[in-house]
């Protein structure tokens, strides 16, 4: 009897403790101001990756500082898998009363799209996606930066440095975002070193340091002496360092992780967009459906060159190419250029850019669309 009473008592206490959690969240009705706005983020990893999420989180901090928001107005959901966990994370952010939510990984898009329809008063911004233009939802937006420009410039450092004329690329998925990135990187290397070739290997994950390290090691074993990456962590950099070859990073200045290997990194300044989007909500203005900026706006840039190990003349070559991109005389995907790829259903497709023309990458949409493998690049699978 005593036990039963105790059990009932405990249950009552538990329910009593849970009830406040169920209460209707105080969604900001009326004006959204600097003091009551709440900004949510869903990340596939956490800043300890020292790569993609770290870099995006810097953008968050930039926005917080620029707009003067308090810490409790920013809610981060880290290490959210690209699956049902994303749905949960988004709903938790909505329960917490977020007015604008950024989802930063490609695989989140379907979940964000679904929830955006349910919550028309909340703004949803999804990085690297492509569905906003066709979705026709006023509160769902895509954003990205034309990272291919910075990758092209970073490729110059790799092309000048390589001794075996073989570059290795640790790539996440065979998606256009990744293919566009490594093609630009390769074209940059080739612009200064016509003999260079590149081998690409997929990890099939945005962030799996174990596999990234193993893939990097395999590429080095195949004779690649500059490793670059489209994956989130610094594992390719530290692997390159351990094996005495060089590396070109992504998202973050990786020199501190691999001082004798990392030459330069292609980076995105997410702060520009994040600040702009949050400001738009505060001002009651509409956020563009599709946002993309590049080198000219400072949305993509290069981390400082590691002059201690870079080939002589690298900085000059990069500066010259930068000038060309900025004044429009240099196009990354300039013809003559041909490549092969496959469309969504796996059918082979080809592209042939004639001399004097160029492929208009990320001009009509923020999502990269170059998905062709060009001669000189070999995908190992």
């Amino acid at each position: 009897m005593k036990k039963r009473v105790l059990a009932i008592l405990l249950t009552v206490v538990l329910v009593a403790l849970l009830l406040p959690g169920c209460s209707k969240p105080t969604t900001a009705q009326g004006d959204i101001t600097k003091d009551n706005i709440k900004v949510g983020f869903v990340h596939v990893s956490d800043p300890s990756d020292m790569g993609y999420t770290y870099n995006h989180d810097l953008g968050t901090k930039e926005m917080q500082k620029a707009l003067g928001l308090r810490d409790d107005q920013i809610i981060n959901k880290f290490n959210v898998a690209e699956g049902a966990a994303c749905d949960t994370a988004l709903r938790e952010l909505l329960d917490a009363g977020c007015n604008i939510i950024f989802a930063t990984s490609f695989g989140f898009e379907d979940y964000v799209l679904e929830i955006a329809q349910e919550y028309p008063d909340v703004q949803f911004c999804h990085a690297t996606g492509y569905q906003a233009a066709g979705a026709d939802l006023p509160n769902f937006h895509n954003y990205f930066a034309s990272i291919y420009e910075a990758r092209y410039l970073a490729g110059i450092a790799a092309g000048l440095k390589t001794e075996t004329n073989k570059l290795g690329y640790v790539a996440a998925f065979p998606f256009a975002e990744v293919i566009s990135g490594y093609t630009a990187f390769y074209l940059g290397a080739k612009s200064v070193n016509p003999k260079v070739t590149m081998e690409i290997m997929y990890t099939n994950s945005w962030n799996d340091p174990t596999v990234e390290a193993q893939v990097a090691k395999a590429l080095i074993d195949k004779g690649c002496d500059v490793i670059s990456q489209h994956s989130d962590s610094t594992a390719p950099a530290t692997t390159a360092e351990e094996n005495g070859v060089w590396q070109v990073g992504y998202n973050n200045d990786m020199i501190s992780a691999a001082p004798n290997a990392s030459l330069i990194s292609a980076r995105i300044d997410w702060g520009i967009y994040v600040t702009f989007a949050v400001q738009s909500v505060l001002a009651g203005k509409e956020i563009p459906v599709d946002w993309c900026a590049g080198l000219a706006d400072g949305a993509v840039y290069l981390s400082p060159l590691n002059t201690a190990i870079a080939a002589p003349g690298t900085q000059e070559a990069i500066d010259e190419a930068t000038k060309g991109i900025l004044d429009g005389s240099l196009h990354v995907f300039a013809g003559p250029l041909n490549g092969k790829g496959s469309d969504f259903s796996g059918n082979p497709i080809t592209i042939d850019v004639a001399a004097g023309e160029y492929f208009h990458e990320q001009e009509d949409a923020s999502a990269p669309s170059w998905c062709y493998i060009i001669p000189g690049c070999t995908v190992l699978e």
């Binding site: 300890s48 340091p209 390290a213 074993d221 962590s233 594992a235 992780a257």
Partner: protein, 330 residues
Amino acid sequence: MLDTTVALLVAAVLAGTPLLLGALGEILTERSGNLNLGVEGMMFMGAITGLIGSFFYEQAVIGAGLAPSGALSALIALLVSFLAGAFGALIYGFLTITLRANQNVTGLILTIFGTGFGNFFGEYFGLKAGGYIAVSKATKSAFAPINIPYLSDLPVVGKLFFSYNWMVYFAIALAIAMAWFFFKSRVGLNLRAVGEDPAAADAAGINVSRYRYFATVIGGGICGIGGMYMCMVTTSGVWVHGCVSGYGWLAVALVIFATWRPLRGMVLAVIFGGLMVMRMYISIPGLPAQIYEMVPYVITILVLVITSIRQSKEHAMPASCGLNYFREDR
């Protein structure tokens, strides 16, 4: 071709070592009759504690204005990760040996607990350290490949046998020692008796509970060391969320594949490791990477099928593994 083969073998050994350590811990545990499915959890616990152990040691030494010693830091990581894994196993042991809880359920809970433990403290200390936890160069170089003059420079042989970090040799020595312990020592014989038939062992005057506790706790500690390998070698001394990710389960599969024998485990760990990295070295055009990743598990299923068809007593699971011992049931 030779170069590729050597490179593949070296990569296989490196990928196989954490599996071997996890499997050795689990072999010791299962030989005593405890089926601890919490290997993944204990590896996570060992991974994070080993890393923060080294990290705090370095911080303390640097704070005192001295240079940290890599060897000492590695030793601390080894000890702390062992203790953390042993602690996880102690929880398991208390629940199953003393309280006689269901072994499968307890093991699964330990996996969930350990994964959360690792990721929680990884993030917690990462935030405290201002972003992420990473050990300094001194510790990193302690986990770098060894370099023995002349031997390491030999063609092929030098690469194949003398180019690993110390933990690889540690794991090999442990496997050999464990094989000796099981099959050549008195205590090992007693332990096997406990795993096969605890009632008979009890009648022979062997303290079943004590043997099970010791085997489980030490086994858990070895699993913890396997986790520390993931953190220190595979991800180069940086905490990465979910870094053990499935290796613990592969280790459990390896135990079955190795038919509870340490030396067999040593060879098969290299094969498992090789299967995991094979796609990066040998490419079969048109074969998706996912197929390669399935292979270790498919092989485990095949081994299970074959051993159950053969019904060989010698290669079977210890007879009482998975069952709790009630003295009163005798």
